[in-house]
Symmetry: C2
Subunit: 352 residues, 2 copies
């Protein structure tokens, strides 16, 4: 392999650490055999070796990098920045900074990962914080929803940046030439919602950003797939994505109870089990796991803390696909251009 | 019947007008035969009579009130307030103001209904706008989520008022002595989220409001049923409830496709059809339809514009249950008390 694609892994992150992360790496490798994937595994050597011995052929493509300590799932971002140096998460991101790896994947603490990513890789353009994307399955495919948690307060300028970054991300992953973009709001008419969304809507109509901007979309438009990219502040986005997770769990529980509540129901479920299994696989949260931070000068993908090996493998595949595209460069270029062309009017209008 | 419970109905509201509303009234009547329900139907006489003749026994308990014009589903609230006088929606609410009816139900334009309710009935305490509640089915029962659309911007004081009103509403409907209350946020730790939710959290801990306050809850906590009442600003709440509606539609579509995709799947679904039908009835949006505006000096219930007759009947039953309780008086009393005791500290702290 002349030019292997190296991915840096926080082996200690998430609810389960190496016992899930390493089998996840193995699964990702199986489904990307031709890509020449290689991995830098950052973590406790003994813990990693203990798992590695039971996962066939993984050791050949992995290099183990010892690290000290783990950032806990409830650590505050500021603490992670001050004290996180040398931990598995820190070193995983640092491998991207040094150029040894093309992307990093961690199932650890989201706030800490964002803070460390921002510190080590810095943000593109005049962006303050990166945005976290969710890949949302819809009736028409997958919609990229951002921000889902990194930026609790967002002004209009920030929402415009999310639109630019979301479109570049969606294009890189789904190869849609001009992804459609909408802003999440409480109604579709231009006068609906608060000042931030109305200003962002005006800006996206007035600035010439080469975006297929659709206007406002409502919450039920997400699962309908009315836009390829849906932009919102990190508070609303986080609530929406977690509300959806809760509801998905509610439906799975209801369906399971329904199909076991009587002998007839059990018999029916047994006969239809092939179709039900295919649905279950289609709706498996593991199949859509992995949210990258957009706007960093490097690729960092966050896996769900409770993801299983299949879910972690999905996050790795996403990182590998992003590493094979130029979306980081594209985002940096667009943000710089929009800052040069549009920043003055953006600032004037959002203050007005 | 010595003391009939009179409900005022906007017969022209919603996507379908009298053709759905009047059969809805008939269904509500069937399930409340002992209550001595009577109705004032506001709308176009000819249109109402045309439907009434085909719904047996309904005419006996209905009084028709002619009105002029209908507020369109996309009219702006300000326009509805200026020009809405004499319409079916206006007159339905006005019957509550005059004391002729104990509650009003409309499937019309939400913003217009809120504005007309506020104008004719006025709000309790120092409340600016009423809050709209959603009855959210959960793994443990039903959670009352508010505000889901009336107040796009909410400061901490408003969120505290929602907590007070939500608890009174939940008690009136579900007869829980001390409903538990949570604030929707992006995490459960006290330092998470924006200033408004953090101030509201502090206030609910410090003010002695006789509430079973639990702290912050995340989006996935809604469907889990972690609290009886979940409080949020109208922007986030509206997005959450519509996101959930969209996802529910997505799951129904997936399940229907799954159970018709092959002969085996069809056979299984046929055998399990009893259980599947019971699930479908349990999760029917019509079974949870109807959101009251809390904080008005009177009962106004909003039905979904696209509700069918069964759904409209649910909204009427909700109005009848509320009319049989003293929750309007309780809310007014609590809001006045909290304004007297707590308003000064609330204002100081939210400015700080």
């Amino acid at each position: 392999m002349a030019d292997p694609l190296v991915i840096s892994i926080d082996a200690m992150g998430g609810d389960h650490g190496p016992s899930i992360v390493l089998p996840g790496v193995a699964k990702a490798l199986q489904s990307h055999p031709a890509k020449g994937l290689r991995f830098l595994l950052h973590g406790d050597l003994a813990a990693m070796r203990a798992v590695l011995s039971s996962v066939p052929r993984l050791a050949e493509v992995c290099e183990l990098r010892p690290s000290e300590g783990v950032i806990s799932m409830d650590a505050k971002p500021a603490h992670a920045m001050r004290r996180g140096k040398g931990t598995s998460m820190w070193n995983a991101v640092d491998s991207v900074r040094t150029g040894e790896a093309r992307a990093a994947v961690s199932a650890g603490n989201t706030g800490a990962l964002m803070a460390i990513g921002r510190l080590l890789l810095r943000t593109a353009g005049n962006l303050d914080r990166p945005a976290l994307v969710a890949n949302w399955p819809t009736l028409r495919g997958v919609t990229s929803v951002l921000d889902v948690g990194a930026n609790v307060n967002c002004d209009a300028e920030r929402l415009v940046q999310f639109a630019i970054m979301g479109a570049a991300y969606h294009r890189a992953i789904h190869h849609t030439a001009r992804p459609t973009v909408g802003i999440l709001n409480v109604g579709t008419e231009t006068e609906k919602g608060h000042e931030e969304v109305r200003s962002a809507d005006r800006l996206l109509r007035e600035l010439e950003l080469d975006l297929a901007y659709l206007g406002f979309v409502e919450g039920d438009g997400i699962a309908k797939g009315v836009a390829d990219v849906i932009v919102t502040d990190g508070f609303t986005g986080n609530v929406a994505v977690k509300t959806a997770e809760g509801l998905a769990r509610f439906f799975r529980t209801e369906l399971r109870q329904t199909l076991t509540e009587s002998l007839l129901a059990r018999a029916g479920a047994l006969i239809a089990r092939g179709a039900l299994r295919r649905m279950s696989a289609r709706l498996d949260p593991g199949a859509i796991n992995g949210g990258p931070f957009l706007g960093l000068n490097g690729i960092v993908v966050k896996s769900h803390g409770s993801a299983d090996a299949r879910g972690f493998a999905t996050a790795i595949r996403l990182a590998a696909n992003l590493a094979g595209s130029d979306f980081v460069g594209e985002i940096a270029q667009h943000l710089t251009r929009s800052a040069a062309e549009g920043s003055a009017p953006i600032r004037e209008r959002t203050v007005a």
